[in-house]
């Protein structure tokens, strides 16, 4: 598998650290009920198909990337910088 980092170009999978589903971008507000924290930390859609997940370009530009890819075919359709993501 290769990912095309918007800053560094196409790179080998080994340069990236996988964090998990993009749920990690939706942190509950301080003081939110426990159920929201459980949902944020543990519960996942875990789709068989298109998913968005977070990868860190560890051996490159040190940017967090949001990757849109298919978990069944391993096809990658988009790689965006998390920092430039519109809220």
């Amino acid at each position: 598998m290769r990912l095309t980092c918007p800053l560094c170009g196409e790179r080998d999978r080994r340069e990236f650290y996988y964090c998990g589903a993009e749920d990690y971008l939706h942190r509950p507000a301080e003081g939110a009920p426990l159920a929201e924290w459980d949902n944020y930390l543990h519960l996942r859609d875990n789709p068989a198909g298109v998913t968005k997940d977070l990868w860190y370009h560890e051996a490159g530009c040190s940017q967090w990337l949001m990757v849109t890819r298919n978990t069944v075919t391993h096809e990658i359709s988009a790689v965006e910088l998390v920092a430039e993501r519109k809220a």
């Binding site: 859609d45 875990n46 978990t71």
Partner: protein, 416 residues
């Protein structure tokens, strides 16, 4: 038909014409008392123990492919009871006892072989951790022997003991650990369940779960609707999809785990060897192939095939540990879809829907659990109460903080 040595001999003498199929191929009935979704190891053992322990025989196992087409036929067959957390320890101990009587119970040769498992350690700190684990195993009534460097050398003279990065300090020997024939475990349970009246229905994918007023009524399948009083979801890597049919979001991420086998060789490795620091483990099958594997590919995937970085890593780790395998030719590699939970431990529990139960989260360790998981899932579905040895495998433990983090790495999806 009962299998026996005498039967094998007489069939051999008369052209093997008397064998009958090991199970029926029934059409689904309109209604069952219990439906088990998933014909893997856990689904089949659940059905078997529902019939055998609880007398519930109006049961169907619905399998979308053929029996044993999932992880039960893809794993590397290590059977062990070397856990230390209360909750895990008694469960895997129970499973080991069931393994030890399994062939007689099923009247089926699952080729269970207690050849001993050796976990290697490479530092004083790791040694202390293994002493603690060994003591926990002994406290649980299982067996563990601490081996020093020379002790390991006696068993495994062919390892590279002086590797610069990971010199071998010793190992923890678990004599009752070993392996079994994975397919045979599925087939043995399938045959045992079928003989007790369970319908094993293949090529029958569940596409929906019918729920009325919070009570399960049955399932929709590619072979029509089937009603049931109770339904168990036992689908390993596909747990999130099937649970979503009942409106649930699970603490599961599905990952790929790869494994490898070489051409058949003469007997050379007698034990199961685990080299945790290199993420590598190996054993030799009765056919002679070296069966080995490593860690997850480490990203969510349903592809049932892995990527090259992990292939390379596993080969390197193997060569580091035991250079003698370098000239063996790898025949095949494959992957299985693992239902990874955040803390690395499983779930056997009720759900928010009356009559709907779930057994999932087996991570990369669910083969050894097949007997006890079926035993406990059957107990839960028959009695409504969790079995004594599985009472900590709760679905809500992530919300309540009662985690079972055996590795002590934290409760987060990418850490196990």
């Amino acid at each position: 038909m009962r299998y026996s040595g005498l039967k094998v001999i007489t069939e051999g003498l008369f052209g093997n014409k008397g064998w009958t199929p090991a199970w029926r191929d029934p059409a689904p009935k309109a209604e069952y008392d219990v439906i088990i979704i998933g014909g893997g190891g856990h689904g089949l053992s659940t059905a078997y123990y529902l019939a055998k322990n609880h007398g519930i025989t109006n049961v169907a196992v619905l399998e979308k492919g053929y029996l044993g087409s999932g992880n039960i036929g893809r794993n590397t067959t290590i059977v062990r009871a070397n856990y230390f957390l209360p909750g895990n320890s008694e469960f895997y101990s129970h499973s080991m006892k069931l393994w030890e009587g399994l062939e007689a119970d099923l009247n089926y040769n699952v080729m269970h072989s207690q050849r001993g498992l050796i976990n290697l350690f490479h530092s004083d700190g790791q040694r202390d951790a293994f002493v603690r684990r060994g003591n926990a195993m002994i406290n649980q009534g299982d067996d563990a022997i601490l081996l020093d460097r020379d002790g390991v050398r006696e068993h495994l003279p062919y390892l590279d003991f002086d590797n610069t990065r990971f010199p071998i300090y010793g190992g923890l020997l678990h004599p009752r650990g070993g392996s079994a024939r994975h397919d045979a475990v599925a087939w043995g349970y399938a045959r045992g369940a079928d003989q007790r009246g369970v319908d094993l229905i293949q090529n029958c994918e569940v596409t929906g779960i019918d729920i009325e007023n919070g009570v399960v009524r049955g399932v929709q399948t590619t072979r029509g609707a089937i009603r049931a009083k109770k339904v168990g979801i036992v689908v390993a890597g596909r747990s999130s999809q099937v649970a979503a049919m009942a409106g649930m979001r699970l603490p599961i991420e599905s990952h790929i785990l790869q494994a490898f086998v070489t051409e058949g060789l003469k007997p050379v490795i007698n034990h199961v060897i685990s080299f945790g620091m290199g993420h590598f483990y190996i054993s030799q099958s009765d056919k002679g192939g070296l069966v080995f594997g490593g860690d997850l590919d480490f990203y969510a995937s349903y592809a049932a095939r892995g990527n090259l970085p992990m292939v390379e890593h596993v080969m390197e780790a193997g060569m580091t540990l035991m250079p003698m395998i370098g000239r063996a030719k790898v025949l095949r590699s494959w992957g299985g879809i693992m239902d990874m939970s955040p803390d690395g431990s499983p779930v056997i529990d009720k759900t928010h829907v009356d009559g709907l139960f779930i057994d999932c989260g087996w991570n990369y360790g669910g083969f050894k659990a097949v007997p006890a998981s079926g035993w406990c899932m059957a107990h839960l579905m028959a009695t409504g109460e969790p079995h004594e040895v599985a009472r900590k495998f709760r679905l809500d433990r992530f919300a309540t903080g009662h985690l079972l983090d055996e590795e002590g790495t934290g409760s987060q999806h990418n850490l196990h």
